[in-house]
Symmetry: C2
Subunit: 377 residues, 2 copies
């Protein structure tokens, strides 16, 4: 029998929550970080390596997958999880953000959005109903409804109009969504940086009813202070008993700050994208392994992380791989970066359980700001 | 106590031999295929994945490593095996072939070869003694002496002069080589496609004495027939009890034909290089997975290979990854291609043991020439 879609809160520490989300495809603890698997692959990683990082759920991009390889191909191969051989839950976004940020032209109407592919200029239409249908074909564990993601900054009147449209789309999405045990549909709050619009948006979504609530339209250039403030204000209006997902966030300190404000779920391209450019996360901040100061350094990136890429290879070797454009450089640095994120999430969960999140966050931030360890060899 | 460098012949079938080579860093069965790890990485593979393919020894390129990251870096990190975390034996080539094929300019004298780096135009000198010293610094299990690799075709007089120089260099290499238990130095026969020169070269090397004998200067455009003939003629003059290595060969049918002529060791860039361009080995020949006829094919590449990449992923998924330039495409296809080669070597070894190599070779060739299986979904 399929596991029901069920969120349980196991422990709280201030506004932060330690939770567990059961789904049809497996369960995971929250706060959780979801690596991004844009095109049916967490870039530069095999699914075995993704598993080794401790990742329990990944994100797929509806927009990218509908253009390549096409939803029909993935559907005929029994969904995205089977296509890419990922055994655990998948969350897919609605494509709305990519339509507005990547496509050459997009035309938004009440019905939906018409856009030009960034790959070949072909025209495509997404409606709330079609986006739900696509995610059904992908067999996504968690689906997201189509929303409008206006560019930042936007005036309040524009933000309000856009949010109201997204709420009407959310309603249509819920109606189009086929209920299945262990699967869920999340609502996405919008309203820019305006607290009253966020409140209105949250209330509209709660009236419709969703299995979880996301905060969209942040991490688009508003800065950390404003992002934290809007998150805090929005969370106030979200139901306590449902998972909360801050979309597209973020750097480690962003995640820590958002967890303290009650967020349970995160996704971000940074650990994968930066891994492919030689940028590496350490507890003392990021380093660029391509820098020549690492070229003879026998030390691993970070021995405290339980990951081969973090503790088994010298910085000298990684420096060499990246400078030589060896694919293995991208593999090892991505592997390490995701492991770093999952290690952070694990420590955050332990701290919440121990009621010591504030102390953990202070210590983490202090180390992070201290800068990378000096070479001592 | 370190294992001695010792080659044992366990079984013969015609001229083909099933053997075992013990080294300081582990033992392996022959005929053996060595994946190429040019720059301290088998391209697009982690060492764990290389191990999973059944590979027991890999090859490193002296020329590439001396230019990047530099021998001093690798030496300070305790040799190439420790640098790249490969636990098994490594064979390093002498750099001679790359100097002559890659560098912008090379000037050969009795002393050695002066050349310009293909990367930055800097000048470097290699002598037989320096090449041995470099491979000592790399801690190579099997070292190769500097030899001259003339371009093909070359007139007989030129081939003779070049071969004689390589034999003088071989002598100097042997003298410079520091004996260590479990390590070995191979001699390399030269002499182009001229049987009498190959005989003279083999005799010169035997007089010096090596732990194994390689056939160099083939697979440079002479064609399979001539390559087989020269191999057969050269092997006649090589000692029965030492391993024989045909450098840079080759495609599956080249390897099969050379095994039948008494060769024990092979290396070739094809499974890795072709894997990065979407070209895939199957028992029915090679296919280009990028071809649109694979775009909806649910079948794996080759279920008969004991490798996740070969049997777990649909051709449709691999086609998608390659067309989308996903790094995972290179990873999975390289993983499969090396596994295909190791599966072939394993079957060859079993056939020699069963005294059925000729039948195996006939069947393999028939399948190979038949072409890829039709789609039937």
């Amino acid at each position: 029998m399929t596991e029901a879609f069920k969120f349980s809160i196991l422990s709280i520490d201030g506004s932060a929550r330690l939770g567990k989300l059961n789904t049809a495809h497996g369960k995971f603890d929250t706060p959780v970080f979801m690596p991004v698997g844009t095109l049916g692959s967490v870039k530069a990683m095999t699914v075995d390596l993704v598993e080794k990082t401790g990742s329990k759920i990944i994100l797929g991009n509806t927009y990218h997958l509908m253009l390549r390889p096409g939803i029909d191909v993935i559907e005929s191969l029994h969904g995205l999880r089977n296509f890419m051989k990922w055994k655990h839950p998948i969350l897919t976004d609605s494509g709305g953000f990519q339509v507005m940020s990547l496509s050459k032209l997009s035309d938004i109407s009440e019905e939906g959005v018409l856009f030009k592919s960034h790959l070949d200029g072909s025209m495509h239409k997404l409606t709330p109903e079609k986006v739900i249908k696509i995610q059904r074909s992908l067999d996504s564990t968690i689906s997201m409804p189509l929303d409008e993601c206006p560019s930042y900054p936007i005036d309040k009147e524009g933000a309000a109009q856009s949010m109201k449209l997204s709420m009407r789309w959310a309603k249509r999405s819920r109606l189009a969504y086929e209920e299945r045990s262990g699967y869920g549909l999340f609502g996405i709050t919008q309203g820019g940086v305006h607290d009253d619009l966020r409140e209105e948006s949250a209330n509209a979504l709660i009236d419709i009813g969703f299995e979880g609530y996301a905060i969209g339209g942040l991490a688009v250039g508003e800065g950390q202070d404003l992002m934290f403030r809007v998150t805090e204000e929005t969370v106030r209006f979200l139901p306590l008993e449902k998972p909360r997902y801050l979309m597209g966030v973020g750097m480690p300190l962003d995640i820590l700050g958002a967890v303290k404000r009650g967020i349970d779920m995160f996704d971000c391209v940074l650990p994968t994208r930066l891994g492919r450019t030689g940028k590496v996360f350490t507890k003392y901040g990021t380093i660029n392994i391509r820098n020549s100061r690492h070229s003879k350094d026998p030390r691993p990136i970070d021995e405290s992380i339980n990951c081969d890429a973090s503790r088994n290879y010298s910085r000298a070797y990684l420096n060499h791989l990246v400078k030589s454009n060896e694919i293995l450089g991208s593999i090892l640095l991505t592997w390490h970066n995701i492991s770093f994120y999952q290690d952070l999430m694990s420590k955050i969960r332990i701290a919440i359980k121990d009621n010591s999140l504030n102390r953990f966050a202070t210590d983490f931030e202090e180390n992070w700001n201290r800068g990378d360890i000096e070479e001592s060899y």
